[in-house]
Homo-oligomer: 428 residues x 2
């Protein structure tokens, strides 16, 4: 059986998972796919730390040149993450005629377009199943199984840490701070959890999904992004009373000719499958014009799920190599004209005002909203009050982002408002 040689750069958590899977499953993979995957080189700047898997000393190196410039290596697996030096490594690997497999969502969302073009020109493939949704085969499904569809919608719960925090807050009735501490204790949150809680990690992944699903290359900074840091337990509980769960959603939604792209905490009806995605699980919900609604659910991170995805890419590319296939490119077909302006997007809103309990406050709030053209669907003035502050919870009808933002600013300036209003978008 023909061999395909793999050079791995980045021998951290995921890297060690990939090494383990390639060793443990070598004969089964060969039997299934007709290609023998050989681990030819493992590169990391730190070769001293203990790993849960053993690699022959002769394969280890600190010099990634020994991967990039080894003509016997067919596939370079990049698992160091971040932009530098990952971008240089991948670029050089492609120039050397090597196929690339990567889990690097930050890099692909920032420079995917450029790297895919280069790979195309050089006749090599980039596998990136592991960049979104961990072990969930969402990239393969969008590229292959669903390729005949014109997508209308992608909703993603694609940041496990945020989903864990929101689940924990709701289930244990604890504050965001306490839930974040629990996530850190459980090893789900990074030392600096801001990439997760700010929504930025979701934006990276959304950029990748939107590129694949709608053919539009977009940088993460072009995606209107809001994290979960302003979510309070009270909002989760009020939402629950109204029949909604609060989830951090990454949204790509066709709107006329344009594509809405946004990441924000979102009220989702309890009846929706996404509302039942708990803990660190991820889920991607899509709507295609042929298949209708689909959901893909699974662990969105972790050593072995991610290694599963990386391995599937290695094998798929390996099959192409041994079968003499020259080209493995995938054409991105643009099905929207561009990205909708964030200001013009219309959604329903949940709003919580924290007002001093005195007559006329509700009237003033309603007055501003009416003037801005924001129509109210329901109002609940909560009985509980602390230090004379009354929570007022409103659900609005669809209102334009610009109008909502202006109304919120105006109301926040009321002397009776003790804290800025909390606003969470709704998707039905």
């Amino acid at each position: 059986m023909k061999k395909v040689r793999v050079g791995l750069i980045g021998f951290g958590t995921i890297g060690s998972g990939v090494v383990e899977v390639l060793k443990r499953r070598r004969s089964e993979l060969a039997a299934k796919a007709g290609v023998d995957i050989e681990l030819a080189r493992v590169c990391d700047k730190d070769l001293r730390s203990a790993r849960p898997v053993k690699v022959a000393k002769a394969l280890l190196t600190k010099d990634f040149g020994r991967v990039l410039y080894d003509p016997s290596i067919d596939i370079v697996v990049e698992l160091i993450g971040g932009i530098r030096p990952a971008k240089e490594i991948i670029t050089e690997a492609i120039r050397q005629g090597k196929h690339v497999v990567t889990a690097n969502k930050a890099l692909l969302s920032e420079a995917g377009d450029e790297l895919f073009s280069l790979a195309d020109k050089c006749g090599v493939a980039i596998g990136y199943e592991a960049s979104v949704g961990g072990g969930i085969p969402i990239i393969g499904s969008l590229r292959e199984g669903l390729l005949a569809n014109r997508l209308d919608l992608i909703y993603g719960i694609i940041n496990g840490t945020s989903n864990y925090i929101l689940t924990k807050m709701r289930d244990e009735k604890i504050s965001l701070k306490e839930a974040l501490a629990a996530a850190t204790r459980e090893g789900y949150a990074e030392k600096n959890p801001l990439l997760d809680t700010s929504g930025m990690d979701s934006a990276h992944k959304l950029a990748i999904l939107a590129h694949l699903g709608f053919g539009i290359a977009v940088k993460p900074r072009e995606i209107s992004t809001e994290g979960i840091l302003d979510i309070e337990l009270a909002d989760i509980q009020y939402a629950e009373e109204l029949g909604y769960a609060v989830k951090l959603l990454a949204i790509a939604k066709r709107s006329g000719d344009m594509l809405e792209l946004r990441v924000h905490p979102t009220l989702i009806s309890e009846g929706h499958l996404l509302a039942n995605v708990k803990d660190v699980y991820n889920a991607i919900f899509i709507k295609g014009d042929l298949v209708g609604e689909q959901l893909f659910y699974g662990e969105g991170a972790g050593r072995l799920p991610t290694a599963s995805a990386v391995t599937s890419d290695i094998v798929a590319i390996g099959q192409k190599i041994v079968r003499g296939q020259r080209d493995a490119s995938w054409g991105f077909v643009k099905t929207v004209k561009g990205i909708a302006e964030a200001d013009t997007i219309k959604v329903r809103h949940y709003i919580r005002f924290s007002a001093i309990d005195k007559p006329g406050v509700l009237k003033s709030i309603a007055g501003v909203l009416a003037r801005r053209g924001v129509s109210i669907a329901s109002v609940t003035q909560k009985e509980e009050r602390r230090q004379g502050i009354v929570p007022i919870v409103m659900m609005t009808h669809r209102a334009e982002e610009r109008a909502m933002a202006l109304a919120m600013r105006e109301i926040a300036a009321f002397r009776s408002m003790k804290r800025p209003p909390v606003r969470i978008r709704i998707e039905d």
Copy 2:
């Protein structure tokens, strides 16, 4: 761009969907996948009936020989269903060196092993994404995205008609008969709905999934199969009170070295994602040793979802053809020794007895169960009674199938039993 020529046999509902998709998406598919898919021939014994899509007269034929023996045709798409003459057509197509795409679950579950071997020998591929789960890319995901996993479990809600009936019974509190009538009115049930309601359709699909997921070739008749025809509204409602939904599940479950394979109505905890799969939707829940739990959800049938799956196979095979790949086989790797004997399978049970309301009945039931080694987890004697009959609902601990069957037979023979006990298995 290189062309790949497709001959379609079976111009019914799905066939017309495939024609529509290939026409509507031709340029987009070409741009994405680098292959131009040309519809070269459409064959059906009935060319008179109106179809929702037009095909040039020159392409139409009643003679499938004009597909099979046309050397310019690369891929034969078989959409007539059933065993004969589909098997002969596919066999001959393969012998003629043509690749095959099919949605034929009855045929693949009966003769998949034989057809895959022949295809392997002849160096052609068989695409069968559409055979299970309609537009859900579950075949591709098991073959590619998840191939590094050793699977432990597949749970499938893979018969939309049955799921519609069970959903309707629960939501509208109607009998099975009424729900079946509704399914027929909505066009979800065939004229003879027995293939669906008997569980046989699910068994066909389970055989295909088990072959792919556990490498074991099994005939549908080797799968212990029970349909939904004995389910009563009362059971759905009692299950609901106990926190369970009733679903027709297709189950492939590793148990030691062996594989449990069974199709039956099942109590699933309300908290499980599968409990929330409603109406005609399908879902496949898997557990892999690397990825953990995953769920794939979507429309499991219908003209365009199925056409989406067929098209994805056509394109994938087309890519291999134009890129000069010779072989596209997939090796089935057996990860279990064989199929577990149905009699030895241990699960928990829900049982409903319909007994005459007189002292000592419960004691006699409990006596039989105890003698057979079936341990009771909970008992509820329902207050309602009709014509002096009292429903007694029991949940058991895990008990062996053989013991349960014997106990049920024994209890059914009691003079106080007005009807045979209803028994539904539980999966937790």
